[in-house]
Structures are given as structure tokens and as C-alpha cells.
């Protein structure tokens, strides 16, 4: 029995994570290690501490006898206001005293344990909105399929309550386990296809894409036979996924497998400070090319590749 998953967040009133009004359950932990990951706080399975400098009141406002309250609270003396990232992660033992102490919620715990019932209760509260809008619950993260048993139970409960279920996945999971534990209770699967070339995938995402591609082919086949809807999605990342060769290869792959539609996700560069919040130096970590928005011309060039291949692009 694997350890219970940590839930990062349950976002309500989500309009961009599937049809209608939805709640999104974000799971912590992912098998991949993509250079551009927009949710770096979801990569590790383990709990972490985040420090958001802009919420911090500053030691002048928040102190006791000249020391900031968080400094005082730390039994490992890992906190110093002179440290721009606040916490020395090597010393930190994740006791969360500082989280408790901070009045401004500038220091927060990333990832909490919740039971299936607790998650259900949180999302079922909004069922009437799902019903009236054709929405439901989306599972995302991180990678939800890292927690098959938990997710299975959750999906079963949601389906028994008549809720539309949607899974966002990177596609790297054991197929048979997926089919028996998750598939029967999934309405829609958003399946990422990031890089077609095996070596590139290893290099930029940290693992082979062989299983991913195989999983996609099989799930899409099931869909053509009447199974759960599968939507292929490709994130457009400057100088990594947006190359003509990659996109053409993906388009070819989709056509070969009788896929008629796909979605391209335009790049959003404003995730880097999340690394800072987690205690890593984003300046050092993140490449220059990832720091700007794509412009309309670049986006259209990418779209044209898919259209030329005869694929319909979903907005």
C-alpha cells in the first residue's frame, strides 16, 4: 500500500481545465522532470515549504525583540531574513512551525494529506454548478496516475454521484493498472504529447517517451471504439517543443493513429518565481529562452503545421 498522496490544491470555479465549470484536484508528484514545468511545486511527491516574499510584512512590522517571528519559531535556525529565499533548505526538517507562526501566510505548506472522502466533500459542494454548466471534476497536478488506488476510489465516488470526470496526464503510467483502476470511471482524458523524439524527450523531460506513445495509441483506439474521450495536447515551449521537426512528427503520429483533433497550449512564462518560493534560485535554473511570451506569429506558425497535416485544432 503506497503512502497517501499529497494534494496540492483544489481549485474551484475553473473554466480552462475542461468543459463547463469545474473543480481541479492537483496531486503532488510527477515521474517527469520537464524543464518548463509550470507547477514546479508539483514535481516532488514530498511535502515542501513555500515562501512568497511579496506577502511578507518585513521584519520591521513582524518581529519580537528585533527578530522576525519566523526566525524565532524555527528550531533548526534555518530561517534568516537576510536570506532572500528565507529558508536554508538543507537545515529545514519540515516541522512547519514557521507556517503556523506566519501571520501573513507568506510561508505556506505545499501539499497536504486528504482522504478520498475529504476531497469528495470539497468538490461535491459545487456539483450544482457542474450540472448547470456541463462541468465536473478534473484531476491534474503533478501526475495523478502516481496514486492509482487513491484516484481509483475518488473516481468511483465521483461517478456514483453523477459527476463528469476528466484526467490530465503526461501519459507515463502502467497501462494495465490504469485500465483496471482508472479507465472505467473516466469520461475524458487530456493526454500530453510533448516531444516525439526519444532522445529529446529524455533530455528535456527526464524519461523515455516510449510508454507514453504506446499508452496514447491504445487509449485512442479504445476511444474510437466508443471509449472515453481522449484529447491529445501539446505544450508549445520556445526552442524545445516548438521546433518544426517536433511538431511535424507529432502531427504525423496523430494522423497515423486516426486522430482528428488536438490542442496546442501556448506558452506562459510567468511561473519562474515559483522556484524561488520553493527555495531554489530561478535565475540560475531557468533558461533565458523560457522567459518571454510567444508572439502571435510564432503561435500561428505552429498551428499551421497541424492544420496542414489535416488536424482540427481545439481552442
Amino acid at each position: 500500500m503506497s503512502s497517501p498522496p499529497l494534494i496540492l490544491d483544489i481549485k474551484g470555479n475553473a473554466l480552462d481545465d475542461g468543459p463547463g465549470i469545474r473543480s481541479v484536484v492537483f496531486f503532488k508528484g510527477c515521474l517527469l522532470d520537464c524543464d518548463w514545468c509550470h507547477n514546479p511545486e508539483s514535481m516532488s511527491k514530498k511535502s515542501e515549504i513555500s515562501f512568497e516574499a511579496k506577502n511578507c510584512l518585513g521584519v520591521d512590522s513582524c518581529n519580537s525583540l528585533g527578530h522576525s517571528l519566523c526566525e524565532i519559531s524555527c528550531p533548526e535556525q534555518a530561517i534568516s531574513i537576510d536570506n532572500p529565499l528565507l529558508i536554508d533548505r538543507d537545515k529545514c526538517t519540515l516541522c512547519y512551525e514557521c507556517v503556523e507562526t506566519c501571520p501573513a501566510t507568506a510561508i505556506t505548506q505545499v501539499g497536504e494529506i486528504m482522504s478520498v472522502d475529504e476531497v469528495c466533500q470539497r468538490v461535491l459542494k459545487y456539483k450544482s454548478f457542474y450540472d448547470s454548466s456541463g462541468g465536473g471534476v478534473t484531476l491534474s497536478g503533478g501526475e495523478p496516475t502516481l496514486h492509482m488506488e487513491f484516484v481509483s476510489e475518488l473516481l468511483k465516488k465521483l461517478k456514483s454521484n453523477g459527476v463528469h470526470t476528466l484526467l490530465q496526464t503526461c501519459g507515463l503510467f502502467p497501462y494495465d493498472k490504469f485500465i483496471s483502476l482508472l479507465y472505467p470511471w473516466l469520461d475524458t482524458i487530456y493526454f500530453d504529447l510533448k516531444l516525439y523524439d526519444e532522445d529529446q524527450h529524455r533530455r528535456y523531460c527526464g524519461a523515455s517517451n516510449e510508454t507514453i506513445l504506446n499508452n496514447f495509441v491504445q487509449l485512442h483506439q479504445l476511444h474510437l471504439e466508443g471509449g472515453a474521450e481522449v484529447l491529445a495536447r501539446t505544450p508549445l515551449v520556445p526552442e524545445i517543443t516548438d521546433s518544426e521537426s517536433n511538431l511535424k512528427a507529432i502531427a504525423k503520429f496523430l494522423k497515423e493513429n486516426n486522430v482528428s483533433r488536438t490542442q496546442l497550449m501556448t506558452y506562459n512564462p510567468i511561473w519562474q518565481d515559483k522556484w524561488d518560493k520553493l527555495g531554489y534560485n530561478s535565475e540560475a535554473l531557468v533558461d533565458e529562452s523560457l522567459k518571454t511570451w510567444m508572439n502571435q506569429v510564432q503561435i500561428e506558425q505552429c498551428e499551421t503545421i497541424f492544420r496542414d497535416a489535416g488536424l482540427q485544432l481545439v481552442k
Binding site: N13, L15, I21, S61, P103, K125, Y126, S128, F129, S132
Partner: protein, 1022 residues
């Protein structure tokens, strides 16, 4: 005190004062008194000695005499200025009979008043740094005299202030993308069609193939396009027509006593003056209009002076009202002279406020009202916040109603003297309207004839010929066609607006009442082509009606821009819902009005839509959402079931409840039968809390006006504090009720309203003016501002002070008194550790219900002058900004001067999830909200979504909210970026409509504080 005999600043050439020079030499405090004396002496000399100024001291009725006193609280300054029979003298103390006294909280306030441009000096008054007491009409007269002297200087100051403001706006808000403006302007270009399956859902739609009418746009109606352009490009003009006629009448016939020395019966006096006015009112038919008649003598937009109400309050601005930065009004020299010499002196002592003051010995309740921060009682402005019995008018015509009244007069039951006069007065007023209609008919004939002789504009000739026939017939006879019906309504409307100030008189359920005319007309046509043409004509007619409704704008002094930012007369139209029998009421006219709403996107008519879950269709709801999207903020949407539930406890029969209409902003009244004066009191719920924190003392007013309920250390439990709050707030409620009731008596006594009475069900039967309770149903409605802020403050105190004992109440109070400056971590605690109303926390909802219920119960037990109950509403006009700017820091974490949330909308910080807000607001008990609510939502359109997807999401929000029991919801569909761009470049956003809290306004006409509040409202993406 130095007595200066030489006045160094007057030369033969110079007629400009140099206040700055005075103060440069004598700024030191001990010399402030003599400095003031000198200034006043300068003024006195100017006005006494110079004929060109002296002539302003005499009006048509004689010298305008009054005394104004200036003093500081400490007594360091005390001076008076007396205007007496053409001589102006400075007094070194203020006599007891001075008409107005200005008390300055300290010396700085006095200095600032002299230094600042008038619009900023206003701020001193609002902030209670200057307290005004007495007959403020004379203060306005004094201000007018000052403006004669200051002339260019004030204008230069104003101009500079405006230029500075423009630069600041460009700096703070500029840099937006040009595309922002385009997105908004492009919205009307795409229009949804109604799915043919959906069309079948509306049983009452019989003639529109596609009720969404997607094939029409404003470009198809050049007539309306022209009207709209005029509306957006013209300032309103101050119109003294009404005032001139009634003043003339009273001068010739007497007001307090008639020419025989007898006291006239108020109803008859009023009616006779009214009939005289309407018979003499200049008939005007605006070029190209399909409706005859204009509210004022300015066909595009006029601002009518109601000197018996608050008209005198613009006396001081006569020379500057066209140059002020917010909502300026054009004014002709003739009007200025007329108002100053003829009209205002006559009415200075004859207006609601003055009668109130004199009769009741200037009671405390009135003084509290004049301190701006605790409550605002509307009756000094007007009472016609209701819906006339339009169906009755359309059914009987004015002659039919006159017959009914005459029969009543003859009837064999004991009709007492007062009753006879009330009825006779009604007849006189209706006759006045009939004269006006006949004059319009004659004018139309003349205009048609002129065009015929010129041989031009054949189409217009025909239209004028038609109009002439129509005006010979209506509103005397019942109308039979839609053209006749709209004209009957409009002419009567002009009549009503000439009787009472244009505040909240509402048109009600026009889709219901006009549908029969539409149907009768279209059934007479046989070919498809004719029917199409007729539908276009009906749209155009409705559009003309909407545009006619914009032909008047309330005349407000500059302070109104602060208090009621951008509000027009809020003539509420109510669409949809169910018929009195409970059937689906959505019909062809409903969709025609929605089409006009979408095309014109104007602030007044204030469009409200009822949604009845059981009977109204999804097609209708989707269309409501689409119109909200295209216009960015109208119509406001109401859940029939919740409103019914709120009205039921009052015992109205169910068929009347089903016939409710929104009145003014959002408040329900029983259409045509109900004097509900639903905006009678605007109550600041935070004022009582500030007083509870300070043992009955209000920090801004610097007045210990409330009961003693103990200092914060004395509260040993949360309940103790809650009770103290209740005690303070109910004290304020009692005071406001006392004032409202006393003013109601004044209305009944001095200025009854026979025309409105003739058109409200009950008055004829009861033979009583509505001011005396003649209407079938009587109540007074209150709007309570700050519910979320108060609830959140109570929650914080309960949880952190009493439950968790994180700090003492005294510690909290100290932090509040310093506006959180020296303890931001306590503020952070307060903001982060307590689940607020709107967060989804059940305890927070309970607290909101507890507060709303307590006040509702209290109000319901109060009786008004007409022996009806008070009702409790939780919408706020723009008072959430006005009161917020005058209120101190609160336990909820709100800093001093910050706006409260609009209506009862939860704090932006309550939850990241908008659905929590929706659910919490829906959980409020409708029975506590019998004067409705405003729940504001700002949605950001997503450019990736199709129109259909956007509408689907919006509909889902509204439907689910209503399913959960929510009562009302109103949208602003605009991004903060767009609003910021509009602040920097108002010229690109003339018609950008926003929903404040119950009403619409053009964003660019709002004061800066309201604009900022709108920008800072939480956005939710679509």
C-alpha cells in the same frame, strides 16, 4: 483684534480678491480672526459699493437678506456677514438668528476653505471638518456671491485641477493597449441566434421568429443612432421652465395664503399650480422623434430645477456648474438670472428641508442627516420612487380616470372635506396633462404644415401628421396602437416628472402592459414583409422611448457626484417573470426591449429582468446573459421565488406579489398600487459599529450622539459587543425613521402630489393623496450599506478577541485608531486567519443572517407616516464608496477611508473561489431582504471562448445561484485593464456602462473613488 481700516486690495481697476495675499501676511493663528474679518470686509465693501455687484442682492420679491456666521470650535474665530436691504456688513459676533453657521473643527479647516477650489472645499464639509447648520439655501446664495467675486480665479483653479488630474491619470493608468477599447466596441458585432428548439420554450412569444433578433443592429436605425450620439455628446442643460411657471403662479396667487388671505388647501394649491405649469409648458417635438413631448425645454437632455425640493442647492454653483469636472451642466445666462433673481429667493424658505427645520425646530435627527456619514434621508429630494398604475392609464385614458374620480366625488359615502379636495386636485392635474397633449398636437400640425409648404421631408411630414392625430387622442382616450400607447405613456411621464423630482420613478412591467398593443397591431397585417417591417418599427418605437427617458438628468450639486456618483434618475424597467396568474410572462415585447437594451447600452432606463425558475425558459436566461455581455453591465437579474418569499410575510395577495416590479435600483414594489418609497433611507451600518467601538462617540462627527454602551474593555463577551453594536445602530435607525416620518408629514402638509396619486391604485377609492396614505399599499424602504464589512468585523472580534484570545479588544482598538499603521502583523492575522462571509464558512453565513435578520426585524416593527412598515434592503447605490471614505478602520482589516463592498457582495479576499461567494450570498434568508439586495460580480471575458460558451457559463452561474435561493445578481463584464484604460482615456469609452450597486452609470462620469472601487472589485474569469 486688529481693526484694519485701510483695505489694501481694492483699487479702481482691480475687482479680484487675493486671498493668498491676505494669508501670506496674516496666517498666524491668533490673527486668523481679524484676517477673516478683513476678507469679509472686502466682500462686504464690494457688494455694498459697486452697483454691478449690488444689484445681485435684490431679487424679484425684494432684498435677499440673510446672515452667515463663521466660527471655529475653539472660538478663536467668530465673524458674521450680514446681507440686509442692499447693505453688507461684517459682524464681530454671530447673532442667534443667523440663517447659517459654519463651524470649523479647527483653524486649518478655515484656511483651507478659503484656499481650495470649491469642489475640494466640499471635501471639508463631507469630512465634518466644517459643519454646516441652518438654511443651506442661504449658504448657497453666499457661495454664489463669492463666485461673482472670485470669478476667473475659481475657474483657473478648477482648470488647473482638471489638468493635474488628467496628467495624474495618464501617469497612473495610462499605457494600456489600444486593443482594449476595440474588444469592448466589437461586442455588439456578433449576436447569437436562438436555437429553434429553444424558441418554442417561450409560450408568450408569438410573432418573433428568432426572439434574439440577431439580424438587427443599431446601424439599422439611423434615427436611434442619431439620438444616441446626441445623448453621449451633449451635456445636460439646466432648465428653469418648471420653476419659472410655478413660481409665477404662486407669486400671483399666493403660497402660504391666497389672495383673499385664506390658507389654501395644499392639494388644491399644488394642483392649480401644476395645471398652470402644464398648460403653459412649451410643447416640443424633438426632430425625428416618434414620441411627442419633452421633460424639460431642452429636447436632448435637460436638468429640471425642483426648487421646492433640493433645487436651491445649486445656487452657489450657477457660475461654475458648466465647468466642474464631474457631470457638468450647461446653463444659459437667462437661466442663471432667472434662478438667482426670481426663483431661488422665492423658494429659499419653501422647500422640504426648510419646512422640516422650521416646523420641527431643527431636530437632532435632521442634524445627523447633515453630517453625511450616518444616513441619508431621501425625502428632501423627492418621493416618487414608485411605479404608477400604467395599465390603468392605458386602459382608461386620463378622461376615463377623471370620470372615475368624478363618480367617486358623487358617490354616496361620507367623503370628508379633505377627501373631496384630494380628488378635485387629481382632476386638475390630469386636465393639465390633457392641455399639454393638445398643445403637442397643435405643434405637430404646425410642423407638418411647415414641411408640407416647403415640400421637403415627406416621410417626416407623415410622421408629424400621425403624431398630431395621436396627441389629439392620447392620453385622454385609451390608446389602441403601440404608437399611441407609447405616446400616452410618455406624455404622462413628462407630466409626472414635472410634478415630482426625477428620482426613481419607474416604468414597471412594460413588456406586459404593451404586448397587447403590439399583438393587436401585428395581427392586422397579413404579409410576412409587413410584419417584418412592423417588428422593426416596434423596435424603433421602444428605442425612441428609451432615448426619451434619457431626456432628463437629476440636477445635483457637486456633492451629489460624491454621494451618488453618476446616477441618473434610475427609471427601472422590469422584464419577464410571471403574470399575476403565475404563467410565463416572457413575450415578444420582452425580447424587443432586450434588443433595444443591447443596441443602445444606456444607463437609464435601468433595465431589470425577473427570472422565474418554474416558468421562464433557458432561452430567455441565455439572452439576458448575452445582453449583459454585450452591454458590459445590464440588465440586473432577479430570482422571482426569492423575491416572492421576501414579500409574502407582508400579507400581499399572491397575484399582486407576482406582479412586482423593480423600483429605482432593484427594490420590489407591487406595480401601480404601492407607495413604497424604497430608497427613503440610505443607512450606514458601519456608523453604529464605530460608535460601539467608542462608547457612543462617532470619530468623524466628533459627536457623542449615541447611547453609552461601554468602552471596548468593558465587553466581557462577544455578545456584549454585539448588543452594544445593535444598540448604537438601532439608535441611528430610530433617528432616521424619525426624520423620514417628519419629512413625510411635511410632504403631506405642504406639497402633496395629486397627479401621482391619481395614477396609483387606491388613492381614488380612499379619496386621499398618496402622501397621506392613499395608496393601496404603503411602506418605506431602506438600503443598508456595509453588511459584509460589518459581518466580517464581528467575525474577527468574536474569533480572535473572544474565542481564541489572540489579543485584547483594547489592543485591537488601538490598532484601529492608528489605521493599522503600527501593527501590520495584527492586520495580517485579521485578514488571514478568520473565514469571512463569502468564504463558504457556515459560521460566517450565520453571522450575516443574524445581522440582516436583526435589522430586518427592527425595521419591520417601525411604522412610517402612512402607517406602513419599513423594509430592509442590502444594496448600496454608490454609498459603499461615499460612506467608506468617511469611515475609519474596521476589525475586518479594512483600512480607514476604503470603500465598503458594494451591496452585500463579499470581500474580495473572502475566497479565491467565486462559487463560495455565490453559495454564501444565496444562503442569506430572503425574508430578511424585503427591499432586495445587490450582489455584484465582475467577469472577465475570455477571448478564446465563443459567444455561446461565454453565455453558457454566465447562465450556469445565474441559474445555479438562483437554484440555491439567491435573490439578485448583477454583472460587470469588463476587465480591470479596460477600466484603467478608460481612466486614462475617457474619450474612448464614453458609453462604457458599469453596474455600481443597483444602478448603471457611464464609467467615465464617475468620481475617482468609485472608479477605483470598480477596478479593485475581484475579477472572475469567464
Amino acid at each position: 483684534m486688529n481693526k484694519l481700516t485701510h483695505i489694501p486690495f481694492i483699487t479702481e481697476q482691480s475687482n479680484r480678491l487675493s486671498f493668498n495675499e491676505v494669508f501670506k501676511n496674516t496666517i498666524r493663528k491668533p490673527l486668523l480672526n481679524p484676517a477673516t474679518h478683513v476678507l469679509l470686509q472686502v466682500m462686504a465693501a464690494q457688494f455694498t459699493l459697486r452697483p454691478s455687484l449690488n444689484r445681485y442682492l435684490k431679487g424679484v420679491d425684494g432684498w435677499i437678506n440673510f446672515i452667515i456666521g463663521f466660527k471655529t470650535l475653539s472660538g478663536s474665530v467668530e465673524q458674521g456677514i450680514s446681507f440686509n436691504n442692499g447693505k453688507v456688513k461684517v459682524l464681530t459676533n454671530i447673532p442667534r438668528h443667523a440663517e447659517v453657521v459654519l463651524t470649523f473643527s479647527n483653524e486649518d479647516a478655515l484656511v483651507e476653505m478659503f484656499r481650495l477650489p470649491p469642489n475640494e472645499a466640499l471635501n471639508l464639509v463631507l469630512k465634518n471638518r466644517i459643519v454646516l447648520e441652518g438654511n443651506l439655501a442661504y449658504l448657497q446664495a453666499f457661495n454664489f456671491y463669492v463666485s461673482l467675486l472670485m470669478g476667473d480665479k475659481h475657474q483657473k483653479m478648477l482648470k488647473k485641477a482638471q489638468q493635474d488630474d488628467e496628467l495624474a491619470r495618464e501617469k497612473d493608468y495610462g499605457g494600456g493597449e489600444a486593443s482594449l477599447c476595440k474588444e469592448f466596441k466589437a461586442r455588439p458585432q456578433y449576436r447569437m441566434t436562438c436555437d429553434s428548439n429553444m424558441v418554442k420554450q417561450d409560450q408568450g412569444v408569438n410573432f418573433l421568429d428568432d426572439p434574439y433578433l440577431p439580424n438587427y443592429s443599431l446601424e439599422d436605425f439611423p434615427r436611434l443612432r442619431g439620438f444616441l450620439d446626441d445623448h453621449l455628446n451633449h451635456k445636460a442643460e439646466v432648465c428653469a421652465e418648471r420653476a419659472k411657471w410655478i413660481t409665477r403662479y404662486y407669486r400671483e396667487n399666493g403660497f402660504e395664503t391666497d389672495n383673499d388671505g385664506n390658507k389654501p388647501v395644499p392639494e388644491i394649491r399644488q394642483a392649480q399650480a401644476y395645471k398652470y405649469l402644464m398648460s403653459n409648458k412649451r410643447p416640443i417635438i424633438r426632430k425625428n422623434d416618434l414620441l411627442a413631448g419633452t421633460t424639460s425645454s431642452y429636447p436632448i437632455t435637460g436638468s429640471v430645477v425642483y426648487p421646492d425640493a433640493q433645487g436651491v442647492m445649486i445656487w452657489g454653483e450657477l457660475l461654475s456648474i458648466d465647468k466642474r469636472s464631474l457631470i457638468p451642466f450647461d446653463i444659459s445666462q437667462e437661466t442663471i438670472d432667472s434662478l438667482h433673481f426670481d426663483i431661488f429667493p422665492f423658494w429659499a424658505k419653501r422647500n422640504f428641508n426648510e419646512w422640516m427645520r422650521e416646523q420641527n425646530d431643527y431636530p437632532i435627527c435632521q442634524k445627523i442627516n447633515e453630517r453625511w456619514v450616518a444616513y441619508f434621508v431621501w425625502k428632501s429630494i423627492g418621493i416618487s420612487h414608485t411605479i404608477p398604475d400604467i395599465p390603468r392609464l392605458l386602459e382608461a385614458g386620463t378622461l376615463g380616470i377623471i370620470d372615475e374620480i368624478n363618480n367617486r366625488l358623487k358617490a354616496n359615502d361620507p367623503v370628508i372635506d379633505a377627501g373631496t379636495n384630494a380628488l378635485k386636485a387629481m382632476v386638475l392635474c390630469l386636465e393639465g396633462i390633457n392641455s399639454y397633449a393638445e398643445n403637442l398636437a397643435s405643434l405637430a400640425e404646425v410642423q407638418a404644415e411647415e414641411l408640407a409648404q416647403q415640400g421637403t421631408e415627406v416621410k417626416r411630414q407623415k410622421e408629424l401628421g400621425e403624431l398630431a392625430k395621436i396627441c389629439r387622442k392620447v392620453p385622454m382616450q385609451p390608446p389602441e396602437t403601440l404608437d399611441e400607447a407609447f405616446n400616452a405613456l410618455w406624455i404622462t411621464w413628462v407630466g409626472l416628472l414635472n410634478e415630482n423630482a426625477d428620482t426613481g420613478l419607474s416604468v414597471g412591467r412594460l413588456d406586459q402592459w404593451l404586448q397587447p398593443f403590439f399583438e393587436s397591431d401585428i395581427k392586422k397585417l397579413s404579409s410576412k414583409k409587413e410584419k417584418e417591417a412592423y417588428i422593426a418599427h416596434a423596435i424603433e418605437l421602444a428605442g425612441c422611448f428609451f432615448m426619451r427617458c434619457t431626456d432628463h438628468f437629476p440636477l445635483g450639486p457637486d456633492i451629489a457626484n460624491f454621494l451618488f456618483g453618476g446616477a441618473s434618475s434610475t427609471q427601472a424597467l422590469t422584464l419577464g417573470g410571471v403574470t399575476p396568474d403565475g404563467e410565463d410572462a416572457v413575450n415578444d415585447m420582452t425580447y424587443i426591449f432586450l434588443k433595444v437594451t443591447e443596441m443602445l447600452s444606456i444607463r437609464d432606463v435601468n433595465v431589470n429582468a425577473r427570472f422565474n425558475k418554474a416558468k421562464n425558459s433557458n432561452a430567455y436566461l441565455d439572452r439576458l446573459c448575452e445582453v449583459n455581455f454585450i452591454t458590459a453591465g445590464t440588465p440586473s437579474m432577479h430570482n422571482d421565488d426569492a423575491v416572492f418569499a421576501s414579500l409574502k410575510p407582508h400579507g400581499y395577495p399572491q397575484n399582486h406579489i407576482r406582479d412586482w416590479s423593480a423600483t429605482g435600483c432593484v427594490e420590489p414594489t407591487i406595480s401601480g398600487k404601492h407607495m413604497g418609497h424604497t430608497g427613503s433611507i440610505l443607512m450606514n451600518l458601519v456608523a453604529g459599529m464605530e460608535m460601539a467601538l467608542n462608547d457612543g462617540y462617532h470619530p468623524l462627527m466628533k459627536w457623542h450622539l449615541g447611547p453609552k454602551t461601554g468602552s471596548v474593555d468593558s465587553f466581557d463577551s462577544f455578545e456584549a459587543f454585539f448588543n452594544a453594536y445593535m444598540k448604537q445602530q438601532t439608535f441611528l435607525i430610530d433617528q432616521s425613521v424619525e426624520l423620514n416620518n417628519a419629512l413625510a408629514a411635511i410632504h403631506a402638509q405642504y406639497r402633496p402630489t395629486p397627479l401621482l396619486s391619481a395614477l396609483i391604485d387606491g388613492s381614488i377609492k380612499n379619496a386621499k393623496d398618496v402622501t397621506r396614505g392613499g395608496a393601496l399599499y404603503n411602506s418605506s424602504g431602506v438600503s443598508n450599506i456595509g453588511l459584509a464589512d460589518v459581518t466580517d468585523s464581528l467575525l474577527v472580534v468574536k474569533k480572535l478577541v473572544f474565542d481564541e484570545k489572540r489579543f485584547t479588544f483594547a489592543e485591537l482598538k488601538q490598532v484601529l485608531d492608528n489605521d493599522f499603521e503600527d501593527n501590520t502583523s495584527l492586520r495580517a492575522l485579521v485578514q488571514n486567519k478568520v473565514p469571512l462571509f463569502g468564504s463558504g464558512d457556515p459560521e460566517a453565513v450565520d453571522m450575516a443572517n443574524r445581522v440582516a435578520g436583526a435589522f430586518h426585524g427592527y425595521y419591520n416593527r417601525c411604522r412610517n407616516y402612512r402607517d406602513g412598515p419599513y423594509t430592509a434592503g442590502f444594496w448600496s447605490m454608490s454609498q459603499h464608496v461615499a460612506y467608506g471614505s468617511l469611515s475609519g478602520a474596521l476589525p475586518s482589516g479594512r483600512k480607514a477611508g476604503k470603500a465598503f463592498t458594494p451591496g452585500l457582495t463579499p470581500q474580495p479576499s473572502a475566497s479565491k473561489n467565486f462559487l463560495d461567494n455565490i453559495c454564501d450570498v444565496a444562503k442569506l434568508n430572503p425574508e430578511f431582504m424585503d427591499n432586495n439586495i445587490a450582489f455584484n460580480v465582475k467577469l472577465i471575458p475570455d477571448s478564446k471562448d465563443t459567444r455561446e460558451e461565454t453565455v453558457n457559463t454566465m447562465s450556469a452561474y445565474v441559474k445555479t445561484y438562483f437554484d440555491h435561493g439567491g435573490m439578485q445578481m448583477q454583472f460587470n463584464v469588463v476587465t480591470s485593464e479596460t477600466l484603467r484604460d478608460a481612466m486614462a482615456h475617457p474619450e474612448n469609452y464614453r458609453n462604457l456602462l458599469v453596474r455600481i450597486s443597483g444602478y448603471n452609470a457611464y464609467f467615465v462620469t464617475l468620481n475617482k473613488e468609485i472608479q477605483i472601487e470598480l477596478i479593485e472589485r475581484t475579477e472572475y474569469g469567464l
